[in-house]
């Protein structure tokens, strides 16, 4: 029996709230936020899943419950297997999950990225700042309600703004890529269509004042 399946069986025996998760490849479980740190610790110390390869946020669209999920991928350097741990955030407005930085220092940047992109807070993270976007950026860009072209935003350096009078503007999408409709539940309607949101000097930007 592969180590990963053994580990999953042991987890389910110990924590009643741990349940199987549908997966096309590696063994996966759903874990409630309260149990995630002990579950990860048990996987690391008792089952040999010593490497945290990835932490990623997922947004299941505006209005779905739960809206945000944090997915951890662990790798065992001994048995060379992966396991996937998914944690659904309880509160859709202020999603929060306990931080894994106490177990792996490498979780630091992954969690900062999930916070930066989705606004998921990691309780107990020593330094939860934005990592890819600049400090003070007002949006969470990978949320499904954030448009692909971006949102007009003030530049981080106010001195530059005062001097040049420019902002970070939304991208012009001249003949642009396919655009999926965010929040669309019917997959046929959600298929990406080429949406003409282009603008030029002569034709004003859609939605601009």
């Amino acid at each position: 029996m592969p180590k990963a399946l053994e580990a999953i069986a042991a987890l389910k025996g110990r924590w009643a709230a741990v349940s199987d998760r549908a997966s096309l490849d590696h063994p996966a479980v759903n874990v409630p936020p309260a149990d995630v740190v002990p579950v990860l610790r048990s996987l690391r110390d008792e089952h040999g899943f010593d490497m945290l390869t990835d932490v990623s946020g997922v947004d299941w669209a505006l209005g779905s419950r739960p809206r945000f999920t944090v997915v951890y991928h662990l790798f065992s350097t001994q048995s060379h297997e992966y396991v996937r741990i998914a944690v659904d955030c309880a509160d859709d407005a202020a999603p929060e999950v306990p931080s894994a930085t106490g177990l792996w220092p490498g979780a630091d940047w992954h969690e900062r990225e999930a916070y930066d992109m989705y606004g998921i807070r990691f309780a107990g993270h020593p330094d939860l700042r934005r990592i890819l976007m600049w400090d003070g950026y007002p949006h969470f860009p990978l949320r499904k309600d954030f448009p692909l072209s971006g949102i007009d935003t003030a530049l981080p350096d106010l001195e530059v703004v005062a001097e040049t009078g420019t902002n970070a503007i939304a991208a012009p999408m001249m003949g642009g890529p396919f655009v999926a409709s965010p929040g669309e539940m019917n997959m046929t309607d959600a298929e990406p269509r080429a949406k003409d949101e282009s603008w030029t000097e002569r034709r004003p930007k859609p939605g601009a004042k």
Binding site: T53, S56, R130, L132, E191
Partner: protein, 408 residues
């Protein structure tokens, strides 16, 4: 010295050993030759010694993951070129295999062999640049010149295969963009034969080079425990003495058929990481030679992938069936089953992972890119502390990162 220029306070303090020092803050980058792109290090210095290092990344953030959610699977292939832009062929392959796992497609042996050959060529090309730039960082200019001559030969072969030197976009879901051209395999073989002696020459410029050794041995030591705790992968992990190579331990694309060794370091310093990369190039040549010797014939795309590929143009113009299929593939993209997959490939910089969440249909719901350079750089605040400013340059060179991949 006139009386007014004397500094009695300082002199007295220095004599009693209470000389007051002040921490200096130094912003290194984002445009600094040693930061290989646009990495910025916010350093706190006590004299020449780094007491705190805070990497500031994101200058090259393009929102690749957001873009991926808004286009069909094959449309995203060119974006993978721009992750680790020193090894686009390896990225293409990693992405294609991840989506093929989702689509449950098996590619034929000829396609797998082509992918192995191209990925190993990409590894040689990436490591050559890594070593050349590392050499420049620590004061050995000539290595860069020699390694770029060899990379130029590789680029010629890439161009012949894919039509582009740099942004190859060669993989497709379930196959490749095209078959290998006539005689190309032979030219790859010829490249390998002439490359091995030149590689020895290039490595000889560094391996016993007094300056290079002095600047790398014992600098930027990463212990085994730290390497695992920070999620380091690739040559940086192996340099710390952990024999973990996904090509060996979690084989994909037929790597299990090839005979090669996984070099590891003993001390985990910059010199070990250099040695590991040098040896990996020799092993890559070994793999290419084996793949070339028994290069399989047959189809170069999966039979099932016909529902993903656009049909031949003459059929589209003459047959209703193909016209409809072409229309569906162009407008909605190839239809994928719902589900979640995670796949990691051993790229030149480390394990490049793709986590794909599909709700069915032609676009991924979520595509997370696990970038090896991102994880490898996260250890910087730990290794830089206690190092001299000049050692930071050496550490950055030895970690061999690409910001295009780190920032995505």
């Amino acid at each position: 010295m006139p009386a007014e220029y004397a500094f009695p306070d300082s002199a007295a303090k220095a004599a009693t050993g209470e000389f007051e020092t002040e921490k200096m803050s130094l912003s290194m980058g984002p445009s600094h030759p040693s930061t290989h792109g646009v990495l910025r290090l916010q350093l706190e210095l006590d004299g020449e010694v780094v007491t705190k290092a805070d990497p500031v990344i994101g200058y090259l953030h393009r929102g690749d993951e957001k873009i991926a959610e808004n286009m069909t699977y094959n449309q995203f292939v060119p974006y993978t070129d721009r992750l680790d832009y020193l090894a686009p062929l390896a990225n293409n392959m990693a992405y294609a295999i991840a989506v093929e796992k989702l689509a449950k497609l098996e590619v034929p042996p000829r396609c797998m062999a082509t992918r192995v050959i191209t990925a190993e060529m990409a590894r040689i090309s990436a490591h050559l640049l890594g070593l050349g730039a590392f050499g420049i960082d620590v004061g050995a200019w000539s290595v860069f010149m020699y390694s770029f001559t060899e990379r130029e030969k590789l680029y010629k072969l890439f161009e012949e295969l894919t039509g582009a030197r740099f942004t190859t976009s060669y993989s497709r879901i379930g196959g490749s963009a095209c078959d290998v051209p006539e005689g190309w395999i032979g030219r790859v073989d010829a490249f390998c034969d002439q490359f091995l002696p030149l590689l020895e020459e290039i490595l000889n410029l560094l391996t016993r080079n007094r300056i290079f050794v002095d600047r790398t041995v014992g600098v930027g030591v990463i212990t085994k425990e730290d390497a695992i705790a920070y999620g380091l992968t690739g040559p940086n992990l192996r340099g710390s003495g952990i024999a973990l190579d996904l090509r060996k331990d979690k084989p994909y694309s037929g790597y299990e058929q090839y005979d090669f060794d996984v070099p590891i370091g003993t001390k985990g310093d910059g010199y070990d990481r250099y040695l590991v990369r040098g040896e990996e190039m020799r092993q890559s040549v070994r793999i290419i030679k084996q793949a070339v010797a028994k290069f399989p014939s047959g189809a170069w795309y999966a039979e099932d992938a016909k529902r993903i590929f656009a049909p031949p143009k003459d059929k589209v113009l003459t047959s209703m069936e193909e016209l409809i299929q072409n229309f569906m593939i162009v407008t909605e993209g190839p239809q994928m089953p719902a589900g979640e997959v995670y796949f990691e490939a051993e790229n030149p910089k480390g394990a490049l992972g793709f986590y794909i969440v599909s709700k069915g249909g032609g676009v991924p719901w979520r595509l997370k890119i696990r970038a090896p350079s991102f994880c490898n750089l996260s250890i910087l605040p730990k290794v830089c502390v206690g190092a001299m400013v000049s050692d930071v340059v050496s550490i950055l060179g030895s970690l061999d990162f690409v910001m295009g991949e780190c920032d995505r």
